[in-house]
């Protein structure tokens, strides 16, 4: 296959097509809808042998995807933001069913206030659901990660569903050259679904997901899900190795860019990390030994690989495109817990909140974060988490508030006028 310009959404759809998915329950939401539209078009034209059913909600969609896997077919679903949250109950449930499938999440900020652009709070909310998570930085990664996610999910040692995350707008609607994997090679990499014991038939009664009363059986099933997720680290390495062998593209659980000899390292997830790559190059030219470490896997959390990648660095800037209110960035806390007590862990691990709701991160800001790290190392004191937000931006917000306030005042004045007239 030649390289083509594809949006992240169409790249995701190609991953689904190459995985020869049998069943796609669907519910629309921006910025994910193009994935489903693309698949629907292929089904219409007879280019894809797949059944698509439009559902009444994401809650039903996730249920249907898991239930279909229980009958032994390969299934797929895609959602975003509010939709992921609406289906949240069933994320936990189908993970507990141990029904392996792939769910694409196109990351978008959460309400309120409602927005459409990229932000990771949606996928972070699914952190503890039992779904594994692969985060993509390019449209090429989206198609490749989708195929890898099926291999990982369906592996007998794992048997857990996987979320493939791509950023709304920055990947979903952004076209980039993508090398679409050859279908024959894709089939070699990902053989047809072997459902094993997943073969529910109407005529062959089976109770999936029975109730357990009492903490003992509950603890067993929940902990087994955890052990499967932990075991998925080693399985992911095998899958990535196999993918590199067949397609020549290597996707380690943790991507390391010029970090081996770096003094200061950015740690972040998703597509904004390519901005950090540029910043690293610029900083290197300016004589600063900077690097980038990007976990592709977020669940399971690649603790050992991160420890290795960050061992001996002077300072780390974790950039979270999410915010846990009352605490700070989620990745920052996760990374600190992975590094605590490790002998050669970096002495400074500072948290930055950037890119909320698709807010850009400028090259100067990457430079400034390094300055903060340098200062922290010199002082021996790590500053509290900082929001990347400029004085100019605050002036902009003040202007918006002033307009909103003026309008509100006008309405109140009119209402008061109406009342006075009514009374006279």
């Amino acid at each position: 296959m030649t390289r083509q310009l594809l949006t992240g959404n169409v790249a995701a759809a190609w991953g689904v097509r190459l995985a020869e998915v049998d069943y796609v329950p669907a519910f629309p939401i921006t910025p994910q809808t193009e994935i489903i539209e693309t698949i629907a078009g292929w089904i219409d034209k007879g280019e894809m042998d797949c059944r698509m059913v439009t559902m009444d909600s994401e809650h039903s969609m996730i249920t249907a995807a898991g239930a279909a896997v229980a009958t032994g077919v390969r299934s797929y679903a895609a959602t975003s933001s509010q939709g992921l949250l609406y289906g949240m109950e069933m994320l936990y449930t189908v993970a507990g069913w141990r029904t392996p499938f792939v769910l694409t999440n196109v990351s978008r900020g959460l309400s309120a206030p409602i927005t459409l652009e990229s932000d990771h709070n949606d996928v972070m909310a699914a952190r503890d659901s039992g779904f594994l998570q692969i985060h993509c930085a390019t449209c090429q990664e989206v198609v490749d990660a989708t195929l890898m996610a099926y291999r990982l999910a369906e592996d007998k040692r794992v048997r857990v569903p996987v979320i493939v995350n791509l950023d709304g707008f920055y990947l979903s609607f952004t076209r980039e050259p993508v090398d679409i994997p050859d279908p024959a090679k894709a089939r070699e990499f990902l053989p047809p679904f072997d459902p094993g014991s997943l073969k529910f038939r109407a005529g062959r009664p089976l109770s999936e997901a029975v109730a357990v009363l009492g903490g003992t059986p509950y603890s067993y099933f929940r902990y087994e899900l955890h052990l499967a997720a932990m075991g998925a680290l080693a399985v992911y390495d095998e899958v990535a190795e196999d993918f590199a062998r067949l397609f020549g593209r290597r996707y380690d659980a943790v991507e390391s860019y010029r970090a081996e000899d770096a003094d200061y390292v950015f740690v972040m997830l998703g597509s904004f990390s390519t901005k950090a790559r540029d910043a690293v190059d610029g900083l290197r030219e300016a004589g600063v030994a900077a690097g980038l470490v990007r976990p592709r896997l977020f669940r399971p959390f690649p603790v050992e690989a991160l420890r290795r990648a960050l061992a001996g660095r002077k300072g780390v800037a974790v950039i979270d495109q999410n915010l846990s209110m009352g605490k700070g960035g989620v990745l920052h806390g996760e990374l600190l817990s992975a590094l605590y007590g490790v002998a050669d862990a970096p002495p400074v691990v500072a948290g930055f909140i950037g890119g909320l709701g698709g807010r850009d991160i400028g090259p100067g800001e990457f430079r400034e974060m390094i300055s903060v790290l340098e200062q922290a190392v010199a002082d021996g004191e790590t500053p509290p988490p900082r929001l990347l937000f400029s004085a100019e931006e605050l002036r902009h917000v003040r202007k918006l508030q002033a307009s909103a306030h003026v309008e509100r005042e006008e309405i109140h004045r009119q209402e008061r006028g109406d009342t006075e007239r009514d009374e006279t």
């Binding site: 507990g96 069913w97 141990r98 392996p100 007998k156 040692r157 794992v158 048997r159 857990v160 094993g196 014991s197 997943l198 062959r204 009664p205 089976l206 109770s207 999936e208 997901a209 029975v210 109730a211 357990v212 009363l213 059986p217 067993y220 099933f221 902990y223 087994e224 899900l225 052990l227 499967a228 075991g231």
Partner: protein, 314 residues
């Protein structure tokens, strides 16, 4: 600290009993903790409730490991394993059981050395005394502790049940005081247990959980028709008994109205009830045109029909 456990069935007022006893202790100046514990909520299923009462702060929580007093409101629960009526009995644990049989009979039956007190709660001519079991059990328990006065108990009953109206309060009060008075000879026989139980000698037997493959570690049942293994008949408080001398043999009526499909045509064309799975809803009793099906309280019914609880328990 007093540690007291009530056993009964859903609908017999065990939660109310724990509230009444808890509040009565509270009125007497105790620190109190009371709570019910049950699985899926349904009438007739075994539930228990517990009360802790102490002069100081209570830090224990959840299941009572060494009860001072165990009250069994429904003797048909004793052979039901899921009810765990005899769980964690200590030598000092007193058993108070709602039964017309003697303490000696129960001592032999259960092979227990603990003190046993029998209190028949059914009044003369009563088939079932469900609505009053809880209040009577709470009142009897109050007397056994010796620290709750008659007046204080009365106030508590009025307070806990006040929202149900004067008539209900009056009848409950009568039942409560009758049970309280019936326990006069045993007043104060239940003493407070030790404040701090000795730490267990052995540590926990922790293991590293092995990784099982997903097909094993999923909460699925891979075969049909396993529900027959669940003896839902154990939830029954009342039992439908067919009197063949009145029966028309119109089994299509009781048989088709039975929501659990446990009535079939048996020997001689009479309806036959599968008591292992009859939950005792009594729809058949109401529907029978000849009034040939009688509702009999479960603990007195063993002799009336072939199937018994003892046989039914797994």
């Amino acid at each position: 600290m007093f540690r007291i456990r009530f056993h009964g069935r859903g609908g017999q007022g065990m939660k109310t009993a724990s509230h009444i006893l808890g509040s009565a202790f509270f009125h007497e100046g105790f620190e109190v903790q009371d709570a019910p514990r049950y699985g899926a909520e349904r009438r007739g299923a075994p539930i228990f409730a517990y009360v802790r009462a102490a002069r100081g702060a209570i830090n224990e929580r959840g299941i009572i490991r060494h009860p001072d007093l165990v009250i069994v409101a429904d003797e048909s629960l004793v052979p039901v394993p899921a009810a765990e009526v005899l769980a964690n009995f200590a030598p000092h644990t007193t058993l108070l059981i709602n039964s017309a049989e003697s303490a000696e009979t129960w001592r032999e039956r259960l092979n227990l050395s603990s003190p046993i007190i029998c209190l028949p709660l059914a009044e003369a001519g009563e088939q079932a005394e469900l609505p009053y079991m809880g209040v009577a059990c709470a009142a009897a328990a109050a007397r056994l502790t010796g620290v709750i006065g008659r007046e204080s108990l009365g106030d508590t009953v009025a307070e806990e049940l006040g929202s149900l109206g004067e008539e209900v309060v009056a009848e409950n009060l009568r039942r409560a005081l009758a049970a309280f008075d019936a326990m006069a000879d045993h007043e104060g026989c239940v003493a407070e247990g030790e404040e701090r139980l000795a730490a267990p000698a052995e540590g926990p037997d922790w293991i590293e959980m092995p990784l099982d493959l997903g097909e094993q570690a999923t909460p699925a049942i891979h075969a049909g028709a396993t529900s027959v293994e669940v003896r839902t008949g154990l939830w029954r408080v009342m039992r439908p008994v067919v009197h063949e001398d009145h029966c028309n043999k119109c089994v299509w009526i009781c048989g088709s109205l039975c929501p659990d499909s446990v009535i079939s045509t048996g020997a001689g064309g009479y309806p036959e009830v599968d008591y292992d799975h009859c939950k005792g809803c009594m729809i058949c009793v109401a529907a029978c045109p000849r009034h040939a099906i009688e509702a009999v309280p479960e603990h007195g019914a063993a002799g009336e029909t072939a199937a018994t609880h003892e046989e039914a328990s797994p």
